[in-house]
């Protein structure tokens, strides 16, 4: 086990753009292993490399323990990219790197994601609902975007009057 300490804001790595992975070498394999161990030991369902201090475009997501709906189980994505988005969903999100706070975030309900697996083979998948939200949250981490940058509404503003 190599559980890493989860880095918390205001560490600058969380607001930086991570580097594209050029080759899946020993270092990248080690980062993936550490991400897996760290995610397993955390209360979260997904994690991104900058959260353990590595500015590389690598994410892991596994919502299978949290939801019953159809999902892809454990997804390891190197150089992840969102090709297409559909729908809109507002969901209350938190982040392992921003303790004690959740906010209503607006995201796509369905995403077409691609990237490489841990052997460097291309992957394409279509994720919906909760899994799509998790992937978007992690892919945002690749570019230094936190859920705090995407707050759609205050939790108490359901009654905000429409203005025409």
């Amino acid at each position: 086990m190599a559980v890493q300490k989860i880095i918390q804001y205001p560490h600058p790595i969380l607001k930086s753009r991570s580097e594209t992975v050029q080759t899946i070498d020993e270092r990248v394999v080690r980062i993936i292993k550490n991400l897996l161990d760290t995610l397993t030991a955390s209360p979260g369902v997904a994690i991104a490399a900058p959260q353990i201090g590595e500015a590389d475009r690598i994410i892991i997501c596994d919502v299978s323990g949290k939801i019953k709906e159809k999902n892809h189980g454990r997804i390891i994505l190197v150089n992840p990219l969102i090709r297409h988005r559909e729908g809109k969903k507002i969901f209350r999100e938190g982040c392992l790197s921003v303790p004690d706070y959740t906010g209503n975030v607006s995201r796509a309900d369905k995403v077409w994601v691609e990237g490489l697996d841990q052997e460097g083979r291309p992957i394409r998948l279509i994720a919906e609902g909760f899994e799509a939200l998790a992937l978007q949250h992690e892919i945002d981490h690749m570019d230094g975007i936190l859920f705090l940058d995407r707050i759609a509404s205050l939790s108490t503003d359901i009654f905000r009057r429409k203005t025409y």
Binding site: V45, A46, F91, E93, G94, C95, A134, F147, T156, I158
Partner: protein, 182 residues
């Protein structure tokens, strides 16, 4: 030793209320911690938990607010908090749920719903109510965020709410707050 105070303030809405209040806090060396502020019709209402600097007494802070209180027409209340009362990260007492209640407006809706919640040790953590619709046929809408303790059976609670729904003649919906840590 840190000392805290919770300030509640209300006054007619206009630009500059937040700046007016926070200016006093800044000038007196107070530290703003958690706040909630909102507009109820034309009235701006706010609550702020503030950390006081070493030598400042609550009475002194009240004195510093005199001018801005007058110019903004504010009603102001300050309640000292102990460190324990002001501490952060209180463990939630249960799972968060949203309860929506709505129907033709009549007296007693809020009381009868919250009385049922209290009887089951369910805590209201956030609440908004509005009267909407035409003046002659107003509709009451209430949304509560509640913490339902582990030991409360949701099905039993839903049955009790359905009974109340008929008695009070309102519509209701209870569902868990969807949230996740990514």
């Amino acid at each position: 030793m840190n000392r805290f105070v919770i300030i509640t303030a209300a006054g007619p809405d206009r630009p500059g209320i937040v700046a007016g209040i926070t200016r006093v806090l800044y000038k007196t060396g107070c530290n703003i911690e958690d706040t909630s502020m909102t507009l109820l019709r034309g009235e701006f209402a706010m609550m702020l938990i503030v950390k006081l600097p070493q030598r400042l007494k609550v009475q002194d802070l009240e004195h510093h607010f005199k001018a801005v209180k007058k110019s903004l027409g504010l009603a102001l209340l300050m309640k000292p908090l102990s460190v324990k009362e002001a501490r952060r990260n209180k463990k939630p007492a249960g799972h968060p749920f949203i309860l929506s209640v709505y129907g033709s407006d009549h007296p007693g809706i809020v009381y009868r719903v919250t009385r049922l919640l209290t009887s089951r040790a369910i805590n209201v953590t956030d609440m908004n109510t509005r009267v909407i619709g035409p003046v002659r046929k107003p509709i009451y809408v209430m949304v509560l965020e509640v913490e339902i303790p582990e030991k409360v059976r949701i099905e039993g609670l839903k049955t009790a709410l359905r009974t109340l729904q008929k008695a009070v003649k309102v519509d209701m919906a209870l569902h868990p707050v969807e949230s996740a840590q990514f």
